[in-house]
Symmetry: C2
Subunit: 192 residues, 2 copies
């Protein structure tokens, strides 16, 4: 077996024993997706736990008025998943789409369950990852209430500059809770 070398950055030997890694890693499948491909569409059941090795992706929802609102962006090394659909086994409200050609590793739900229930450090790791997502979401949510649009953009620039380089501003705008028009004005103001 060839060691899937990307995943060893995600699942480090410091967290897992060699035999554990030998159980975990082969359960993942490598996958390449072209730009614009959907990893998940509204109404689907999320049946995979995905890691992004290369590329960018975005999740979004369509609100009742038909507006597209970005809920998250994903870059290399990130986990890409709709937690709710995956764990509650409900159809998702989200769409997850690649924004560039992507290399991904996926683990199906049943394999996840096996690992989760049988390997203590795997479930610790899974729980930590989920809580990490919760933390990010909370931070974002509070920021939308507490900060001005300009400050939200400045924070994003500081924390995830690569997103601003690689993702179209109209998507970043909806993620920040402003229109693309306003974001454009904010950028102008900052550059002055």
């Amino acid at each position: 077996m060839t060691q899937p070398h990307f995943l060893t950055q995600i699942f480090k030997e410091t967290d897992f024993t060699i035999p554990e890694l030998e159980t975990i890693l082969p359960k993942f499948q490598r996958l390449e997706l072209a730009k614009g491909a959907y990893m998940l569409q509204e109404g689907d059941l999320e049946n995979h736990y995905w890691f992004l090795e290369r590329g960018y992706a975005r999740s979004y929802v369509i609100d009742p008025e038909g507006k597209d609102i970005s809920t998250n962006f994903y870059a290399a090394g990130d986990i890409v998943i709709d937690w709710t659909s995956f764990f509650l086994r409900n159809p998702t409200r989200e769409n997850i789409q690649t924004l560039s050609a992507c290399v991904l590793w996926q683990l199906d739900f049943n394999s996840f369950q096996d690992l989760f229930h049988n390997i203590k450090s795997f479930r610790e790791q899974g729980r930590t990852t989920l809580v990490g997502s919760y933390f990010e979401l909370k931070k974002h949510s509070v920021s939308i209430i507490a900060d001005q649009a300009k400050d939200r953009y400045l924070k994003l620039m500081k924390e995830k500059p690569d997103l601003i380089q690689n993702i179209s501003l109209k998507h970043i705008a909806t993620y920040l809770g402003v229109t693309d028009t306003s974001l454009s004005r904010i950028r102008k103001e900052i550059s002055e």
Copy 2:
């Protein structure tokens, strides 16, 4: 041992075997708190998994300008926890305070870990609860971006009418991302 009867509503026999319940339930401690007591304060480490049997509570953060922003409300039957602090073992940014006299049941982190790693259905239950919180947070976060303040209030009225009855409007306002002044005007508009 007297069966702590409230918790059997949370941990049902349909999900746990009787022996499992006999392991789980005694690990919880009953606790009464007066109105205004803090279950958690900024800087603390969340060391408990709490269930609220009776009363109301609120979590909030203080933003950099010193403004108090409600992040959640808790009513009877709800779990009250800062997931991030509890699982990542980090000091919390949140404050959780009772809004009325409360009856609570708490489980400390070490007991939680024992149950989590030793009882399969306990970890399924814990995971489901956490994901449920994630789902609510996501819904709220999207609502702040996509909906008008008035619609956010109408939704809350419909989904959690008891909160509006029992929690002061200034707290509901910050939760909805508006000022108490605006919320007051929204209420006036609705009542006309």
